[in-house]
């Protein structure tokens, strides 16, 4: 069976990421007269076809009856693999979550599809339908453009690359797929919740980013009070979360990526893996004692100072001058 029109398939277990992928694929599909389908990995509740429709989907595929599907990459791979075979999409976009990053290369092998990771943009040629994708290279130091020779093309896209857009459209059509039988080879024996950040870092307009220049945990109170003055969220580079266990999340390649109006980064060195997390900030102010710190090359404003002297002074002057962040009413 050959699809009459082109089809783009979108899937992630992260609902916010699904909406971002749908918005971008809707835009591309409209230009080509193609359809967009979303694969819902939720099994607990039926997907809301009105919401999915207005997020950009024409079709919602579900796999009812697979318990804890998102906890089992093998099950997700089998389900998507069968769906790809049946629906013959031209392009498949997966969220670059831990689940997505495992499932995408598995699908590439199982369905003999070409795959490119960490996509930041893509195009489909209106005549040849060839897919080209711009992807992150060397952990974000560079970018490479791939041209796919075969279909379907598989891409993984991180949260925050595309922007969600809701517009009134007709509800998506629900299609229930038969669950793939088979006993999972990996047995899940339990879950242990990790501390998760309650702060919605990705949506913060101001982020105060702290690095290893902060000496002790008790100092975070003083730093938090500066963030509070600017309606900001506190976050950190990886060692503060993974080694010192001060924060549940960190900013960077393997952590969260933020795009605030203002990022104030203090005591960070400027390692590329960390920079990827704050690079999309509109303005970056860096404070470091070392004049040669790499972070200064990535900052709009660099202050060579001891953060323990600068931050209290900064707070004092913000208050004295009655300055507010631009987004506050």
């Amino acid at each position: 069976m050959t699809a009459v029109t082109g089809l783009i398939l979108v899937s992630s277990e992260n609902p916010a990421l699904v909406r971002q992928l749908l918005a971008k694929t809707r835009q591309v599909a409209d230009g080509l007269g193609w359809q967009v389908a979303v694969v819902s990995l939720e099994v607990e509740a039926a997907p809301d076809c009105i919401v999915m429709g207005s997020a950009g989907a024409d079709i919602v595929y579900t796999f009812p009856g697979v318990p804890d599907m998102t906890g089992n990459p093998e099950a997700v791979t089998s389900a998507l693999s069968a769906l790809i075979e049946q629906a013959e999409p031209d392009l498949v976009l997966l969220g670059a979550t831990k689940l997505g990053m495992e499932v995408a290369p598995r699908l590439a092998e199982r369905n003999r599809a070409a795959y490119a990771a960490w996509t930041t943009g893509f195009e489909i040629d209106p005549v040849t339908h060839a897919v080209t994708a711009a992807c992150m290279l060397y952990a974000g130091m560079g970018s490479v453009t791939y041209r796919f020779k075969s279909r379907p093309a598989l891409l993984s896209v991180a949260a925050g690359v595309f922007e969600a857009r809701i517009s009134p459209r007709k509800p998506a059509r629900l299609v229930e797929m038969a669950a793939q039988a088979g006993t999972p080879r990996i047995k899940v024996t339990g879950y242990q919740p990790k501390k998760t950040g309650s702060a919605r870092l990705e949506e913060a307009k101001m982020v105060l980013d702290v690095g290893q220049g902060v000496k002790q945990r008790e100092d975070l109170g003083m730093i938090q009070s500066v963030a509070d003055l600017l309606d900001g969220q506190l976050s950190c580079s990886r060692p503060l979360a993974s080694d010192r266990d001060w924060f549940p999340d960190w900013l960077g390649l393997s952590g969260k990526k933020v795009k605030p109006i203002l990022c104030l980064t203090v005591g960070t060195s400027g390692a590329v893996q960390h920079l990827v997390g704050i690079r999309d900030s509109r303005l970056i102010v860096a404070v470091n004692m070392d004049e040669n710190a790499g972070i200064f090359l990535q900052a709009d404003y660099g202050v060579v100072a001891d953060l323990y002297q600068f931050l209290p002074a900064f707070a004092e002057r913000l208050k004295a001058r009655r300055v507010k962040p631009c987004w506050e009413v």
Binding site: L137, S254, L283, L297, R321, V323, P325
Partner: protein, 265 residues
Amino acid sequence: MKILVLIKYSLDISEIKVDPISRELRLAGVPEKIGNIDRNAVEAALRLREKSGGRVQVLCLGPEVARDGFREVLAMGVDEATLVVDPFGGLAEASVAVRILEAAIRKLGYFDLILNGFASDDGYTYQTGPRLAERLNLPLVSYARQLSVTDEVLKADRDLEEHLQSVEVSLPALVSVAEEAFPPRRTTLMDALNAKKKPVSLWTLEAELGLSKAALEQEQEVESSTRTGIVVFRKQQMFKGLSPLEAADRVIDALLQDGALKGAG
């Protein structure tokens, strides 16, 4: 227990420079070494061997010079190393690299456990583990921490976004370890001397694996074009030698000017 660890000779990406005008990525002279995450995978293997006995081998697809990097992991306690000399100079796409690794693993023989880092230090795309799981038809435990093996059953915690997921799987299996999950041990001069006696094999695609570079090239599924460095233009305005209060005022002035702050001024 026979354990194989896949290691990668990786670029130190913090040393990659980007030409600000041409946006060319300058890779010449960028140092390479066995990646941090790969040494974590080696450490995980050695700890399992300490508990269960057995043998730990490493396999690497990389340039001939990667052999120098083996010294470090052999000193850590690895028993034997195999290098498949990469005819693509590190630029083969993941599907092709995995074909080569698969052929090498099959030639090396049976392993109870194959370990690797979940993503290489330089490429960072996490494809080797999942692709090999498919090609070798082995269960994969991804993002693993806290490994243990009892009676042919591997227990592990998978480090996911919002929780740790505890899993069990019967061997043989593939395991991709999480970053910094197994900090590598320090080695002594004695370890380094002992390492010199350990066997290191150099394999080529054609002679030992019976693969052909031309045939593998045919199978590349994407054409890569323009590789450019990412340049984010920043003002890079520096404030130094100022008192903290002066510096604070200058930053506030700048942010008012840029419209990020507003107020009486």
